[in-house]
């Protein structure tokens, strides 16, 4: 729950501009980007996601580093990804 997971923004929902489809390690899920409304991300940009909300924008290099860190910690990340797989935000 405390882990920030990097995701690449794929598309912003047209009718709900606070929702975006992101790809996290190849898994595509919807997240809320309302907390970035001051500087919204565009498709192709990366964000750090906490419990379904993007909290900050990051660059691709940071995303790769963050992912490497997460993969290194093992179970905590697997649990978080398993939870994300179940997520169906709308």
């Amino acid at each position: 729950m405390c882990l920030g997971i990097p995701g690449e923004v794929i598309e912003i929902s047209e009718e709900r501009p606070d929702l975006a489809k992101v790809s996290v390690s190849g898994v595509k899920r919807t997240i809320n980007i309302g907390l970035l409304e001051a500087d919204p991300p565009s498709p192709g940009e990366w964000v750090l996601i906490h419990v379904g909300f993007a909290l900050s924008k990051i660059d691709e290099q940071e995303a790769a580093a963050a992912l490497e860190f997460l993969e290194s910690i093992g179970k905590a990340y697997e649990d978080e990804m398993a939870a994300l797989l179940e997520s169906r935000i709308e």
Partner: protein, 375 residues
């Protein structure tokens, strides 16, 4: 040789380690607290203490939100879950936190319906789909998750989802740090500041630590090199007799934080007069309550909450571990009666808890560094 791949920056780490060592004053001992459980995880996972000279000790702080939840709050949550028609939701980490009569799984075996969700928005979705159920989200976390709960509540209000409420347990990091600074048990030389909490609150709230307590703070990222770099920056401040807040994680953390997130929190929540922290006791203004404007979504107003104070099990020394007074392995039940499979205390439940992190990784770190240096 798996370990070498896992930490392929070991070379750079050793270079940083030499720089840190060169800044140590002979005969002086240094104690730095890493506030955030994520940092504790990295430190044990990569055996970072073995890269530091003996005169530097890292102590683990209270920054694991699961770990600081007192038993009484788990009992309160189970009490709510027992009310007719209630479906309780929370993050996966909460499911195994022991209350005085067992954890959420035990409670479910006795008939409650407590489910784990990834996001509070998933909880809201369940409420939308099941208008016949009273869906309660047990919200926990520091400022990293508080804005998510606040946003979800605003959404529920906007859509008029009346069968959704929040059992709020959000805690704030600054009063906990202050409680530790004011406690006579521990003399610290500086802080490794939390990374993700700071994406929300920014670096300004730490300024009092440098100004009023004369301790440097470096907000740090989560990779092994980030942490070593931050320790180097702390040592440099001490050597140069400076005392300030620095941002080592500026690639993610903005100095002012996330202003939208702060605004949303403030719209929905206000500080509680006090809140009980496991091991730290009652701390003034250390947690958030839902504002009366949103009373219709506040589980604490909707349900009768027993609010009993439950003492921790006698054997449990989580309080000392959370304050950094004891190292995990110094707890009498560590690794014997208390393991991640059968946790007695909360620090063993969450992977970010110091005891779980040490149990999973710490014990192996020394041999690993030796192996890595041989390669």
């Amino acid at each position: 040789m798996r370990f070498v791949d896992e930490f392929r920056d070991a070379e750079k780490a050793r270079a940083l380690s030499a720089k840190i060592t060169s800044l140590c004053e002979p005969g002086r001992h240094y104690k730095f607290m890493e506030v955030c459980g994520g940092h504790t995880h990295t430190i044990y996972k990569h055996g970072l203490e073995d890269y530091l000279p003996e005169s530097i000790t890292l102590v683990h702080g209270p920054g694991c939100p699961v770990c600081v939840i007192p038993m009484g709050r788990i009992d309160d949550a189970i009490h709510i879950a027992r009310q007719p028609g209630v479906l309780m939701t929370s993050f996966g980490d909460m499911m195994r936190v022991p209350g005085s009569g067992g954890n959420f799984f035990d409670s479910n075996a006795e008939g409650t319906n407590i489910r784990m969700v990834y996001s509070p928005l998933d909880s809201l979705k369940i409420a939308r789909q099941h208008p016949d159920l009273r869906v309660v989200f047990m919200a926990i976390g520091f400022e990293t998750t508080t804005p998510s709960t606040a946003m979800t509540l605003l959404r529920a209000a906007a859509e008029g989802i009346e069968n959704f409420s929040v059992f709020g347990n959000h805690v704030t990091i600054i009063p906990a740090i202050k409680a530790i600074l004011d406690s006579p048990d521990l003399r610290l030389d500086g802080f490794i500041g939390p990374g993700h909490v700071s994406t929300v609150i920014g670096c300004r709230p730490y300024e009092f630590i440098a100004r009023d307590y004369g301790k440097p703070v470096v907000v740090a990222g989560f990779e092994p090199l980030d942490i070593l770099q931050s320790i180097y920056l702390l040592m440099l401040q001490l050597a140069e007799k400076r005392c300030e807040v620095e941002n080592q994680y500026s690639r993610v953390v903005l100095w002012d934080g996330n202003l939208v997130a702060l605004k949303v929190i403030n719209e929905v929540m206000e500080l509680r007069p006090y809140f009980e922290w496991r091991g730290l006791g009652f701390i003034t203004h250390s947690a958030m309550a839902i504002r009366s404007e949103y009373a219709a979504f506040d589980a604490e107003r909707i349900f009768e909450i027993p609010g009993l104070r439950v003492a921790d099990p006698k054997a449990c020394q989580c309080g000392e571990v959370l304050k950094g007074v004891l190292k995990p392995w110094e707890c009498k039940v560590f690794g014997t009666a208390c393991t991640p499979e059968t946790p007695i205390g909360t620090c063993m439940v969450s992977p970010e808890g110091a005891c779980a992190a040490y149990y999973n990784f710490g014990r192996f770190s020394r041999s690993r560094v030796r192996e890595a240096s041989r390669a």
